[in-house]
């Protein structure tokens, strides 16, 4: 009798062990399925995020020199009739000076150029109240250096501002190699009164090197290591760093109005 009961218990224990194992195996399979689903869903979301991230960078004309540039008329109208002398835009006797250290590849510099500069130019520079100084430095990569050499060559012909603004409006993806000679030629040839061939021959010359070295020296003297960095003050006096609350016009109108009052 007792051996029969023992046998029954053994069989029952074995059955329970098998059931437990089967349950555990089913749970494992279900969880692997859930993890697989999570991985697939995550991969799909990551691909979407990457597409948004890299898609947004294919803005402008950068890298597709075969296409016409964007915003040419808008940019040229912005500066039409305003004196340019080297890196300075505006009347030399304007009571306030604002200096910008910028990199032509920098997206936030492009944001400022697009969102704030038109208001600053039309409200203050055109009215002779503020003069702007643009000092191009190269911190993002090799394309920055190539772009600013051409910009400095345009600066020698007093067309830096048109070139830089047009470049920003057609900026490509950072360090993607979009700053090719055809792209630079496209930008330069859209700048009124710029001798493009002269600019190309000037860009590697000593005069351009000296202009860029002066920009770099200014950046080092003011401890500039990111772009855009702004300094502003009464003309002829020392300039203080201007930290705009935003890169649209509202970030600049307040500080400039304040300086003009002083």
């Amino acid at each position: 009798m007792s051996s029969g009961r023992g046998e029954k218990e053994r069989l029952r224990a074995e059955r329970e062990a098998r059931e437990q194992e089967a349950t555990a195996a089913a749970t494992r399979r279900r969880r692997l399925g859930m993890l697989g689903g999570a991985i697939l869903a995550a991969a799909a979301i990551v691909v979407a995020l990457i597409l948004i991230s890299s898609g947004g960078s294919s803005k402008g004309n950068g890298g597709s020199a075969g296409r016409p540039l964007e915003h040419v008329a808008e940019v040229n109208n912005l500066f039409k009739g305003i004196p340019q002398s080297g890196r300075v835009l505006g009347r030399s006797d304007a009571p306030v000076t604002m200096v910008e250290f910028a990199d032509l590849q920098c997206p936030f510099c492009a944001q400022y150029a697009q969102d704030a500069l038109p208001t600053v130019v039309s409200r203050y520079v055109r009215a002779g109240k503020v003069k702007l100084e643009l000092r191009l430095i190269a911190i993002i990569g090799p394309d920055s250096g190539k772009a600013r050499r051409m910009a400095a060559a345009a600066q020698r012909q007093n067309r830096l501002w048109n070139f830089a603004e047009l470049f920003y409006r057609n900026q490509g993806e950072e360090n993607s190699g979009y700053v090719t000679d055809p792209f630079l030629r496209l930008v330069a040839s859209s700048v009124p009164s710029l001798d493009v061939n002269r600019a190309f021959s000037d860009r590697n010359g000593a005069a351009v090197q000296a202009l860029l070295a002066d920009n770099d020296a200014g950046a080092i003297a003011r401890s500039v290591n990111s772009t855009p960095t702004f300094f502003a003050g009464r003309t002829g006096q020392s300039l203080a760093q201007l930290n705009p609350s935003s890169l649209d016009a509202s970030g600049f109108t307040g500080p400039l109005d304040q300086l003009l009052k002083g």
Binding site: A38, A42, A43, V46, L49, I52, G56, G141, E174, S245
Partner: protein, 141 residues
């Protein structure tokens, strides 16, 4: 490691991630330079095109991700575990992409971003392990 400990570790890692992303959000909106050792790599990365996704700073997206992981890691059940793993895997994948961009496009490395990428990697691994190894319901009698 027990399920409880795994959950606690996930919560602590998510909290650390919230600290990192919170700091980067503060730096972004205060317009100041992040504390960064060597060469201005952080500013370069933080002012690059890749610091924003559709106009939203990626640090904000990171903070949302860490917040969801923190909450989900403290909740019971398989759905919470799966959510934790899925969000951590998304964070891991996007961090890997951003690290690639840092190294090969921006040519600068931001220590804060690396710290976040390491945290997301650990979260992805641990949350996947936790999902697979969670205790099963008691067997029928």
């Amino acid at each position: 490691m027990s399920d409880r400990r795994l959950g606690l570790t996930l919560a602590l890692l998510a909290l650390a991630g919230l600290g990192v992303s919170g700091y980067l959000i503060y730096v972004h909106y205060a317009g100041i330079k992040p504390i960064c050792s060597g060469g201005g790599g952080c500013e370069k990365v933080q002012t690059s095109h890749y610091s924003k996704l559709a106009g939203v700073p990626v640090a904000v997206l990171g903070a949302i991700g860490y917040g969801v992981i923190l909450i989900a890691s403290r909740l019971p059940g398989e759905l919470a575990r799966t959510t934790t793993a899925a969000v951590a895997l998304v964070g891991f994948g996007f961090s890997a992409y951003l690290t690639y961009r840092e190294l090969f496009t921006i040519h600068a490395v931001c220590q804060w971003c690396v710290a976040s990428a390491v945290l997301m990697t650990a979260l992805a691994v641990l949350s996947s392990v936790r999902l697979l190894r969670a205790p099963t319901a008691s067997p029928r009698g």
